[in-house]
Assembly symmetry: D2
Homo-oligomer: 379 residues x 4
């Protein structure tokens, strides 16, 4: 269903952009985990508007409250209710847009689907919907970190036509990423990107970009074959983020241009288990993690709401010129970084719990001699 | 879960490559629809091996039998059981590979996940697993065609470094596609691609490629906001196909390099409802179809199993040289065309049934004056 | 999963008895339906404690707030967030019980499952958990009433050893039910029941009882064959209510003592469609509604928490005498009436939306001549 | 959805009574478990028709074939496909019934729901549908036995007005049960029941009855709070069996007539963990198993299809007299015993896998000092 994601670790979100609040329920988080609001707030702060002159001017503290599932800062194993109250709505800004479907926005399709829409702010199609994801994702991340040492870092690798240089995905940290106002860890590219965004803001236009994400320390064996392949779940998760247009795992579209003898990741002995000498697979083979870093890229289109005049038609088909007001990011990509991380955490947390249903190692279950998840292989 | 896809139109597949058979159950197909095996067999024939000298030599007729859910060639509304018996197994071909995880294949990850694997043929990780998808997808396609006139066509748009020219997605047909041995409707590119594949076969190597797919006549209003956006479900569906590495909806990664003022699809009046003058959105806005053609691209890596010698290690970490035997496609992309179509049909069929739960038009339900799915807008 | 119910109309609940609040998200409610808090509060008021001297003294106004999914008192088709803030907690009352698992309560099993428990009030095992169900159920009920005229009424038909006389299930109303302090519409039985409850309260003991429920105006065709039979979903829904021990549809256990020639419901012509002359089936045949009233009975055990001394052991196995303090109902059955109605509404609302996925009549879909849901049958 | 059951251990069934075959897919069975057809066939043999003069004369060997998921008699962790081919159809027997909805059967409701029905044999509403459940249930049972020593035994405790004496649920075995032609382990009652069935057969009438089931060695901690309480899932499972009319866990309806001071199960020390001195709870408290035997009862109505003349109406509302031909059991209850066991096994197998997602003991996960599933409690 629309507002729910996951099979074992399940997030359900609710809330309209200009309603009373935005929130989520996270089901399936194991009991006994230390948790309070300070584990969640930092990622919400990275996502919220008003972080710099490059982003929307909407003022929201986006302060999260845990409503349930936690007592004395320890999880109970019951559903964790999360709520962020909306503070700063200005419905008036959107009045003109009631009669005019904004090009490349969801006004028209919501109207066709539901026959009704939130009167302002985009309702569920607003980027504010992602607050629930980010809050729940922060909990998933803590679970992954505490139980498996999993470490997720995303960054902006391209804005408009500016690409960054390749970096070392083994060592990049959020701190390095956040040192850049556009969350691009390549200083030269960061500078150029900031200029592109500032110019596009000045011109009342918008630009898109690409986010790259790496997930380190994922053990082998996570993910399911066939329809719930780990990369398939990641693809769904990423394409469900507003404005996402593309997804690549590992070599991605470039891999389609390689020969098998080049693309294949040969096995080698790494420490006490098998690793690969290259990682075109992006850490996943046959839908299942192989122990190498998982990395993927997500393309985002330019923000649909722009101040520049657009010649379009209203709901009745009458020609109109639309100059969007309201407060809009000229480039959503830097703020999408924690959203990408949150969705990755929700996918991996789900896979972690799913894998737990098989006793580890399986051999212990029926007394056989099969190799199991934790079994060391090597000389 | 792993082997099931869909919420309202649900396919569950089963079967190992070298077991007794491969099959699927399709749940949710409405009652009263004409259906027999001849509706399904053509897509299985397009998928099966041995279609040309460019593909694997494994001989399989892949003949489907409908086990249930249909009587007198009419669907009953009950689960449709589908079975294809495996004929030609040659387990011996794979003996060497038992001890050596094939690079970039799923041997290692299955072993780490399950502690056991099918003894040959890749089990569920084999491309034969897609038989169940193609069979079920053919039924979904018939449902979509009969009820909404939906029309799905995929083709090979790139193999290795050969790209085809842009074609008219409004008029392309499967007949045109199948006139090319590599399923590329651009004759010059098709010729070059066939040469690339033949050479790669001669060299015991493999190549990848890209498939483009268009879905025409999808009405506005299909798909769900938030996590089950139509493009998110398509992304999951496509990345779940063996060897898929990337997915783009509409403008995709190229869209990330555009400005909003160029990328936005302006509305206009088309016949008696709103359309758009461009289609960078790929027919979907906010996760919901807008009535324009849905189009997307899927990247496939080169086949992992190659005859060329590879320096890798066995499960015990001992260096070995692997020269894969067995029968493998030098390029799976042409045979993946009906698989892409099948997965698109399963996604759209699911969305079609999901949308049906809202009475149409919604206004009729509660007596309001909302705009509904079927309501004509315009002068 | 634990805290979610439904496939098409989905309620997810959260909240501990002594935490910040209790709430629910309802997904799937169609857009365009008039809705505000006044549609929900009355059923919460019927459920809340402190309604009479016969019930627990805990003071809670249980005031519901709609957080999302509704604008200007009209549903948007998006998830409806519902929150009731907890006001009156007295954790101290429960201190003794921390070390002693209350007999026939969930203290011991939660501890064994989760290794942790809410420190007081029973957490999710408290009857307060049902607040989310009742709130969501009130919305489902409104949907059913507006779209199909469905009418759901439950009442207390037995308390302890006092049974009521048979009543006319066609005409019973909530107003009649609520005229009795124990919600039993048979005045003589009501009087006797009230005495039983008062005596059991005076003796610090508790009593159980039976609730009967009728759902009128459910059209034929709702419910699914096989595992999701309408009676199977009702059985799950009712047994999920705290303290429920049994469920009967139609003739129930008495039906097992009848002969087929007596039990079978013969068909007859009723108005313009088929009805039955008796209703041992309880309105459902083969898992699907037949248009007759759906009726069922639910057995509730006596409240587990009692003031009487009980010789039991603590978590360490040491003998102890437990005299529960806190505020507990001597009989939960009257307050369970709106909970039974809510769960019935959630089951039927789900079935109503599920049935909508098949166009009605099906014949219209594929041009056949099949009988459909709305087709009139008769002379 | 209709034909699927379970969240972690999932059975999907298919097949019409008079179609090509009946089958199931079982997903989620862990890898490495020994399994072949001989683990499944015995329960199918106990279910199949023609076991004695007391049952239907339809001849079916009901031989199961495993299509997938198993290699060399070991499970692979992939979906297990199961197929039983239909041998003996006699569509002609049912011709008259095409125009006449059989009273208390699903003919009318299927017609109203789907607008189409299988032409004979009841399609999915036939008792043959349960073949897939019994086959899948046998696998679930083996999993439960091998991993936890769980032991499930059901028996006939009442037929028509004949009740059996109370027996020792700790020691009853299937061998003892099967020594009775009506599967009632009380010899005197068994004799009387057989007479009742024989007489009802001679009179072309039918009788119902009650099945009691015990599940031994279920560890504490299985089952989920709120909507998926273990008793709620059992209730759904049992009410989904054709002809089931009621379900009781533990004390059931009789419990509603007890006082709390009598009904409460006091804790005591049993071996090295807590047990209870009585078991009115039926082994479940707050939806979660407590380590005591789980026991429940299921009521079955008399077979709807009888040879006695019934005055009813046809689909057009015209009065007719129906004397059903075909081959029908005068009492389905003895053959329902393995079906009850199978459904119990599917519920418990699902709960077993669900519980596995929490590492055991939970304390190990986050380093706390919580009590865990396996922790011994006592002096």
């Amino acid at each position: 269903m629309s507002s729910r994601f996951g099979t074992f670790l399940i997030v359900s979100t609710f809330g309209e952009s200009h309603g009373k609040g935005i929130g989520a329920i996270l089901e399936g988080c194991p009991p006994g985990m230390p948790l309070d609001e300070t584990d969640i707030q930092p990622q919400l702060d990275r996502r919220r508007p008003g972080q710099s002159v490059l982003t929307t001017a909407r003022k929201e503290s986006d302060t999260v409250v845990i409503l349930s599932g936690v007592e004395n800062s320890i999880t109970l194993g019951t559903p964790i209710g999360l709520l962020v109250t909306n503070a700063d709505h200005r419905p008036g800004d959107y009045r003109q847009m009631r009669q005019i479907p904004r090009p490349s926005h969801a006004d028209y399709t919501y109207e066709m689907k539901y026959g009704i829409r939130a009167s302002s702010g985009g309702g569920r199609a607003s980027a504010r919907e992602t607050i629930g994801r980010v809050a729940a994702g922060a909990i998933a991340e803590k679970f992954l970190r505490l139980t498996h040492g999993v470490d997720i870092v995303a960054w902006v690798s391209a804005i408009h036509t500016v690409d960054m240089e390749t970096i070392d995905a083994e060592t990049i940290t959020r701190k390095i990423v956040d040192a850049s106002p556009v969350r691009c860890p390549d200083p030269a590219a960061s500078h150029a990107m900031a200029e592109v965004v500032a110019r596009s803001k000045a011109e009342k236009d918008s630009v898109g970009g690409v986010i790259t994400c790496v997930c380190r320390n994922v053990p082998p064996g996570w993910g399911e074959p066939v329809f719930d392949k780990l990369e398939a779940r990641l693809a769904q998760a990423m394409l469900s983020i507003p404005a996402a247009k593309g997804f690549e795992i590992g070599s991605g579209f470039a891999g389609a241009r390689m020969r098998g003898s080049f693309h294949n990741d040969l096995f080698c002995l790494k420490n006490d288990r098998l690793g690969t000498t290259t990682n075109h697979s992006g850490g996943i083979q046959g839908g299942i993690s192989n122990g190498e870093p998982i990395f993927f890229r997500v393309a985002f289109k330019p923000t649909a709401t722009i101040g520049l005049a657009q010649r379009t038609v209203d709901f009745d088909g009458q020609p109109v010129t639309l100059e969007a007001k309201g407060r809009h990011d000229p480039c959503v990509v830097p703020r999408a970084v924690p959203i990408v991380e949150a969705m990755a955490a929700l996918v991996l947390g789900d896979a972690a719990l799913q894998q737990k249903k098989f006793p580890s190692p399986p051999s212990g279950l029926f007394g056989g001699e099969n190799r199991g998840e934790g079994v060391k292989i090597g000389s």
